[in-house]
Each structure stands twice: as structure tokens, then as C-alpha cells.
Symmetry: C2
Subunit: 578 residues, 2 copies
């Protein structure tokens, strides 16, 4: 091939891949999730020689990518993906988009044909240059493998750099396209590369600064203090908060008398907190008097926009300070008077120290009173209502062990969790793919979270579960139940204007006539059905503290559930909240 002896090119491919993986491992990568293929062989061979790396083969690239996403979410370390050339990497695209929007470190390694075959109709060859467009933080194509010491050193540096960028200030996916000429498998043992050339660059060693411990500081002069007069709020949207962030949050809020509205995907609802935490806003802001009385003069926003549409609409028009070290401009209502490039810990520490913000008397108390009244009202309403999702959520929040995690799907489940979870003092990690809130890849992500060491429960609707059927190939690796809310299709449309359109059943709700028990049987996962509180309790008795993969199908009467929800909101609207 190309005039070179056969073994030379195969060995060159292998050494090149070894050098790259050395850099990635030095940068903290410990997992390589690969889908079978031929062109990617040199990287697999290199992976087999790298003891620090776990290789996980997953047939469907789409499932592999969501698995890697869950793994990155759980471990906060770069996770590698590898596949062959052609349409294979295109299956990663949905998970790449989610990782880009949420900010998760994926290392996308695409095998490619060498440049002389691109654009000439060669088999399984497409233009993979910039394949993922603007959804990756960096793209590299180092060209076909070469043996020069400098080129080899570049590969190790590139690996270390990719790992570093992927978990840097603007964390997200990095794509490295790897063209390999044939042959791909060496006939003989290959010489190792000169080892002195393979040291990663110092700046990318493991332990390099992550965004969370960066000392970015905010200059008080940059803040417009006119915006911070009158009563204020802190709104914690979906995101990842460090221990430092959380300590600064509770301290600042307590000292300045600021209510803290915590989204379920902030992870701040569950765990110890001082008397500043508010979780029932999605309900009580439906009460017109409460909504008017509690309106703030300003809000500090952390993380992405909250799940609650009620909250988002109610906050529209309130001047807000966006605090985001990654400078993502999460402000769909365009109310930010400023975006501040700082971690919550740094900004809130500064806010607390400044004397320009003072607590408004009674303000925090009004919020806490509303929250408590709603907790009581929810209890009472559910006690009088037929069993459905809210009761399930109550039970889960009451019973899930402190070390466990819950992965919640988008659409109805996350909204219902938002409405009904309340708070608790024991920890419970909550995760969700809320970067772009897709229906996709839920079972695979759950398996990735589990593989990343989090004992994670799933809470999915029936459509989300069936959107990721190839994720079922990973279901036996779960360590906690996956709860599937089977309510007959996309029931979110029962709450949207589409519900009155003829054809809503076939064109929007799209229920599937599948027996979930039959569906999961070939994948070796036990299945059981829950229909009410008693069967749920029995199911939980069996599994809590024990672990293991299983699918618990929660049969929900969607009409009755809708009545419970709309009845509650009517009740809230009528009741005195503050």
C-alpha cells in the first residue's frame, strides 16, 4: 500500500493511536466506549494495550453515545467514543448536542479513510471534517499516521489537550478525526514509539484546573447596584453545583434574607439546607395574589433556565443577573442586565460581603410560608385523590436511600417531579438530560450513569423508554429499577392546546401497543407492574437496599391523573397562600 512495507503502516497506525490514548489517559480519560468496526481497529488495538482504560463495546453508536454521556455525567471525567467511518459517527449526533448544551466531556474519536479516498466515492467514506459543526468545542484532523518523533509527540499532546478542553471552562465534546490507511492489523510485533516523546504537555496533566476551582474573581465595580435594590431572589436552575457553590449559596441567602428557588435538576432540593429553600413555586405562583405579592425587584440566576414554565413566565420582565462561568447567556426572556463570568461560589461570596444589598423585612418569611402552605395543601389534595404520579413521586422522595440517584426523563416526568417532589434533608442526586430536553437515549444514559458508579433509578415515560429500544441491550447492567410511567403515549399533549385537535391520538400522543413485559423479556430484565400505592410499596420493599436491574411498569390512568393535577391547580388558585 502506497509503496510502504505492509507492517510499517499497520504499526504506524498502532503507535499513533497509542500516543493519542496516552495523552487522553493523562488528561483523565478512563473509559472508551466503542462500536464494532474495521477502520477503527488501530485505536481498539491501542486501547487493549492501555491498562488505565476500560473498553466497553456497544453495538448501536447512538446508544453508545448516550451511555458515554451518562458516564461523563456520573464521573465528570472525559469519556471516549470510538466508531468506524461513514454514517456511524452520525448516530452520535443527538448525544453530542446534549453534551454540548449541558457541557459534558465527550472525546469523539472517528476512524476515517485516508484523505486520498475522501470525495472519490470510496466505500463507507463521507466528509467527516467538522462533522458535528458548531456542537464541538474543538475539531482536529491530524492526518494519516506518521513516525516522526515530532508528529508522535503532537498526538500525545493532542490527546491531553482534548481531555483538558472537554472539561474546561466551556466543557463539552471534542472531535478528533483519525484517517488510517490500510493495513489495519500488524502482522508482527510493532516497535514501541520512543517513550521520551510521549509525555503530555504539562498544562494538560490530570489535576489541571477544572472550572469549579478556578479563581476567577468579579470586580464589584462591574455591577450596576441600582439593579439590586428592593427584594431579590436567587433562582438555581438545572446545572452542576460544587460544594463551594452550595456553601456560598446557603450562606449568602441566609445573610441577605433571599429566598432560593431550586429546580429539581439543580440537585439542591434534597440534602441539608437552611431555611431559605423554596421548591413549591410551580404550584403557588399559579395563585394570582401570591404571584403578585411575591414578585421580586431582581433575581440572581444560576444554571440553565428552570424546568417550570410557570416560574419562567412569572420571572419575565424581572431584571436578572446571570452568573455563569461558561458564559452561555441562558436568558431566553432577555431580562439579564448583566452576565457575570464567575462561579456561583465567587459571585455569591462577593455579594454577601458587599454592603450594597440589604434584606427586605418579612420577604423571606412570606416565601417560606407559601412553600409550607403548599406542602400541606399538596398532602391534603393527594390524600383525597386517586393514586397517580404525584403519589409515586411522594413515595420515591420519602423512600429512596440517601446514596442513590434518580434519572428523570423530560416531558411529563420532570414536570411532575418539579411540581410534587418538595424537599428533603437527606441527599438524593437528581440527573436529567436537560441540555436540549430530548426524548432520546434515556435508557442508555441511565446505564452510563450506573456504570459511572451512581446507583441510579430511572423515571421515564413509556414513549421515552421505547424511543431508546437499543438501550435495552444495556438494561441488564442497571443496578436500580427503571420505573416506566405507562400512561398511553405522550400525555404532555393532554396539557397543551393540541389536545383539542382531531387526530391528537395518532399524530401527537402516538401510543404504542406494546406489552412492556414482553418487550423487556429477551433482554433478561425482570419486569413487574405497579398500579397503586400498595403494589408500589411491595415492589419497593423488594428492591430498596438490594439493587439489581429491573423494569417496574407504573400503569397510570391518564384521564384520572389529569383530573388530579387540574383539580390541584384550581384549588391553589382559590386558596389563600400568603
Amino acid at each position: 500500500m502506497m509503496g510502504a512495507p505492509r507492517d510499517d503502516q499497520a504499526c504506524r497506525n498502532l503507535r499513533w493511536s497509542v500516543a493519542l490514548l496516552d495523552g487522553l489517559v493523562a488528561g483523565g480519560m478512563r473509559h472508551l466506549v466503542l462500536s464494532p468496526g474495521s477502520r477503527s481497529t488501530p485505536v481498539v488495538l491501542a486501547g487493549q494495550r492501555q491498562p488505565a482504560l476500560q473498553l466497553t463495546p456497544i453495538l448501536d453508536e447512538r446508544s453508545a453515545a448516550f451511555f458515554a454521556l451518562g458516564l461523563a455525567r456520573a464521573t465528570r471525567q472525559p469519556v471516549g467514543l470510538l466508531c468506524t467511518s461513514g454514517s456511524a459517527p452520525a448516530h452520535w449526533f443527538p448525544a453530542v448536542i446534549e453534551a454540548a448544551e449541558w457541557g459534558l466531556p465527550l472525546i469523539l474519536l472517528t476512524a476515517d479513510r485516508p484523505p486520498e479516498l475522501r470525495a472519490w466515492g470510496a466505500n463507507q467514506t463521507v466528509d467527516q471534517i467538522h462533522l458535528f459543526g458548531r456542537f464541538v468545542r474543538e475539531f482536529h484532523d491530524p492526518g494519516p499516521p506518521r513516525d516522526e518523533a515530532r508528529a508522535m509527540k503532537t498526538m500525545t499532546a493532542l490527546g491531553a489537550r482534548a481531555a483538558s478542553v472537554s472539561r474546561g471552562r466551556r466543557a463539552g465534546p471534542v472531535h478528533i478525526n483519525l484517517p488510517f490507511p490500510e493495513p489495519l492489523v500488524p502482522d508482527t510485533d510493532c516497535d514501541p514509539p520512543a517513550s521520551g516523546d510521549l509525555r503530555p504537555l504539562p498544562h494538560a496533566r490530570p489535576g489541571a484546573p477544572a472550572p469549579t476551582d478556578d479563581p476567577w474573581s468579579v470586580a464589584p465595580a462591574a455591577i450596576d447596584f441600582h439593579q439590586l435594590s428592593g427584594p431579590g431572589l436567587i433562582c438555581c436552575g438545572p446545572g452542576e453545583y460544587t460544594d463551594d457553590d452550595i456553601a456560598a449559596l446557603w450562606s449568602c441567602a441566609t445573610n441577605l434574607g433571599l429566598p432560593v428557588l431550586v429546580d429539581p435538576l439543580s440537585g439542591l432540593r434534597f440534602g441539608p439546607a437552611p431555611e431559605v429553600r423554596v421548591t413549591r413555586y410551580d404550584s403557588f405562583l399559579r395563585n394570582p395574589l401570591a404571584a403578585a405579592a411575591l414578585r421580586p425587584a431582581w433575581v440572581v440566576r444560576l444554571g440553565r433556565p428552570p424546568v417550570s414554565r410557570v416560574l419562567n413566565e412569572w420571572l419575565t420582565g424581572v431584571p436578572s443577573l446571570l452568573v455563569d462561568p461558561a458564559e452561555r447567556w441562558c436568558d431566553p426572556t432577555h431580562d439579564a442586565v448583566q452576565q457575570i463570568t464567575a462561579t456561583p461560589a465567587v459571585f455569591l461570596g462577593w455579594l454577601q460581603r458587599t454592603d450594597r444589598v440589604t434584606a427586605a423585612p418579612g420577604w423571606l418569611d412570606d416565601w417560606l410560608a407559601a412553600d409550607q402552605r403548599l406542602t400541606a395543601l399538596a398532602e391534603q389534595h393527594l390524600a383525597e385523590s386517586p393514586w397517580c404520579e404525584p403519589h409515586l413521586i411522594q413515595t420515591l422522595i420519602a423512600r429512596l436511600p440517601a446514596g442513590d440517584a434518580l434519572f428523570c426523563a423530560n416531558s411529563l416526568p420532570i414536570r411532575q417531579l418539579d411540581t410534587w417532589s418538595g424537599a428533603r434533608a437527606r441527599a438524593l442526586a437528581i440527573h436529567g438530560n436537560r441540555g436540549v430536553s430530548g426524548i432520546d437515549g434515556q435508557v442508555s444514559t441511565l446505564a452510563g450513569l450506573t456504570r459511572g458508579g451512581l446507583a441510579t433509578w430511572g423515571l421515564l415515560g413509556d414513549l421515552a423508554f421505547c424511543h431508546d429500544l437499543s438501550g435495552l441491550l444495556l438494561a441488564h447492567t442497571l443496578d436500580r429499577p427503571c420505573l416506566v410511567l405507562n400512561n398511553g403515549g405522550g400525555r404532555i399533549f393532554d396539557y397543551l392546546p393540541q389536545r383539542h385537535v382531531p387526530g391528537v391520538e395518532t399524530l401527537w400522543r402516538t401510543p404504542l401497543s406494546l406489552d412492556l413485559g414482553e418487550l423487556v423479556r429477551p433482554f433478561g430484565v425482570p419486569h413487574r407492574i405497579v398500579t397503586d400505592g400498595a403494589t408500589l410499596d411491595r415492589a419497593l420493599d423488594q428492591v430498596i437496599d438490594r439493587g439489581g436491574a429491573r423494569v417496574i411498569e407504573i400503569r397510570i390512568d391518564a384521564t384520572s391523573s389529569q383530573r388530579v393535577h387540574e383539580g390541584f391547580w384550581q384549588r391553589v388558585a382559590r386558596q389563600d397562600i400568603i
Copy 2:
């Protein structure tokens, strides 16, 4: 919303969508394949009002896209895809790439949030501008709906233009991104648009020139005749050939004494043909004497590069004329002395009329003799060998009715079909996703072909079948059996150098421990197992001429099959072929 009365925007969205669909329908689109979602509602509402359009809801966007691909392949008409915003359209990407490389008319309609929400962290909102990069022929974002007559007229023109481009000379996908502000569902009846404004542009009316009937002519002066001296060949690679192309092909080859090597995916192996057709080249070119004796001085190449690796390597270095109206430069070995922008019909018609090419005595006879000898040798070898894929292929070619079609997956199945099919005089349409030869979307594509009116059998490996699990949701719509070659994973690696690598089983072959019968049961498709010629015949007796969806699992002993294949090639290498 935005100061406009509520109904105005919903009606504007609807009228905008009606105008667009009117143009697409005028351009020949008859199917809209949609995945459920909220933001795409205006287009669904418009689709419900368009009697010429069939709406097919499919949950998983990836499966929907491959279904649309199959439908476009079967009908040769533009097929629409519709989904909501966010990661949803990213699931189309693999099928979009296949459609781009093969040249199939997909109309990609992505709903989007309005521009004021993009890049501000709004839910389910990503940068959808140029989402598919260079894999679409055109991209348009007409902006949020407006009511001005000129803007509405543009939408109809845009629909007609998109349909026209998608099946034009460089047929392929066209992407139209559609931002819709809320509300999405009108509360009241909407005024229709002024009907005079909705007429599509004349150039894009149905019946506009398709590439197949274009009168592009080729100037003889442009051909370098030195290249056409000595014995020549015509090589018909994968592609779609019109009746005119085929008539010109057989006529030209007969008159000039040119052997015609026909790839299985050319569709030219099955059906009447004069004595110029050669199908066994993948076998007899493994015989060194035959390979040397039959080497041509030049080759005319039509379609994409052939499936046979033996043929491709053997043709390397032979000066070739690429004939391709779409100017795709399908020439991975870089042996083209010229690419000619003409249909095969036009070019071959001209070649036949010119007096510059003369038949070489005995040349065609040598080829036909080799082909016949190989047919006899294959018969003999298979009669002496244990039953496996070649026998299955023999039986299928002998028994499939003339009106039926066969959809063959990549990797081993298409190579085995290539080696063993031979030719037959009765028609049999063959299809395969060979644009990028992915493992993906096979069941969904099969369902799309079926929906497009072709009574199509599937021939898939076990991994390809399981890569497209959500395609099983469409399996009950099949009208012919899907044959699954269950040989324990990716057995193509048994024929590649990876077979000697430790870990080949878990990292390359990746067999799944799934019971296919259990797997398909929840999807309501009958399943049966075939293990030899007798059980195959009984299974075919039951289904031929009867139709209906079913999965026939063909259990193959991969080791024995490999022995049959390698034994055959050794036999061929030793035998006198010419």
C-alpha cells in the same frame, strides 16, 4: 406574545405551512413522515388539510428517516420528514448521509423556536442553521411566518423548488428550517391565504425534468480516443438505471462486443439481457491466469464503485471513463481519465454510433465462457458442501417471484449475494443502502420500501437487524419476510485480519445473546427458524405469493460457512477458467 393577538400568530403559522406544503405537493411530494412533537404542530395541521399527502407518524426520528429513505428509494419521489426542535433532527443524520451519498430525495422539515430564542438557553433549542452541513443540497431558513402576500408566495415557491432540487441532477436531501413563534394551535378557524399567491413557480411543476430524461449531450470531441483502443469493459456499479440506460447498455455492448460486469445493486443481474452480462467476476478473478488474461485496456464505469473488492482491486490501474450525470467522481482508485457528465443512455448511445471503437475478436466470448464455467463450478461446489448462505441465495434467486424485490444489508450479506447470485432472466429488483454502506436503519428502510409499493424481502445479518431495534415497531407493516442470517455477530471479521486478534469476539464480532423469536414477539410479527434447505423450502412454500410480515431466522454455522467459501476460492484458483 410579541404584542400580536393570539390567534393571528397561530393562523399565520398554519397558513405559512399550508403554503409550503402546497409547493412540496406540486413538486411531487406525497408522503410526510413525522415524529411526534409540539413545535412542529403547524406543519402537521397543514398536512391534515392537504388531501394529496399521506401522514405517517413514527416515534423514533432515526427510524422515521430510514423509513423515508426507503420510501424515496421505492417511489423516486420526494419524501418529507418532519420533527420538533432540539436533538430530534439529529437522529435523521445517518439517513441524511446515506441519502446524500446515494442521491435520494428527502425533504427535511425541522421545526424551530423563533430566532429570538436561539442561543439564549431556551428549552429544546439548538443552532439548527446548517445542521446537516454539506450533506444537504440546499438549506433554507425562511424566518418566522409572515402574512405578506410576497412572503407567502415565497413559501410555495420554496416548497416546489426544494422538491425539484431534491430529485434534480444532483438528487439528495434538502433542509428547510421552520421557526414558529407560539401559539401553535389556532383557537378559531383561520382565514385561508389569498389563493392566487400560492401557485408554485412554473419551473418546479410536477413533471419538470428529472435527471433521467435530460437531454444532456456529450461532445465526441471531448473524449480522448487513445483511451478506447484495445479490449474494453463496461462496469455497472450500484445505482439506478432507467429503461433508456438499460436499452442503450445492452445495445452498445452487443454491437461493440463489450462484456458488461453488473453489480448486484445495479439491478441489472435479474431480467432479460443479451449475451454480454457477466456476474461471476468476484469468483473467477481470484484465478490468477484468468485475472491476467481478461485484463482490459479500458473500462467505462457507470454508477458507484462495485461491491466486489476483488473487482475493484483488479481494475486498479485500468484507465476508466466515469459516466455520471451527477458528477460525483466515484473513482477511489484514481484511474479515471475523464468524467463525462451524461446519462448512460446518452453516452452509450454515442459510443455505439462512433466508429472509433471496434470489437476485439474472442474477447467477449472469453468473458462469457469464464462466467459460465464459474456458474457450473459453483453449482458443483455447493452440491458437495453443507447448507449455508450460498444455498440460501441460490434458492432465493430461483424462487422469488418476478414482481418482488430484495433489500440486502451491507457487510457479509451483500458480498455473499454478489458472489453467489448469478443472473436470471426474470426480473427481481435489488436494493441496498450502499451510499455509505452503514449497518444502520435496515428494518426501517425495508418498511419504507414496502410502504412505497415494492413487495420487498429483507436479507439482513443478525447485528444489522438488532442495530435498528426501533425499526421493529414497523415490522408488522412489511409485506414479505425479513430473512435474518443469524451467524453469531459480525462474521465479516472472520474474513479480515482482525480474526487473529485476541478479543476479536468481544471487540469486533460482538455477538448478542438475544433470542430473535422472543425479540420480535412483542411487535406482533410471526417468527420461524430455518436451518437447512428443507426447512427453507417449507418456509418459502408457506409465504411465496401470499405476502405478509414475518421474520425468518436463518441459523448459520459460521465456521462451516467460512470453510465452504474459502474452499470454493481455493478451487477457483486451481481450476482452468479460460
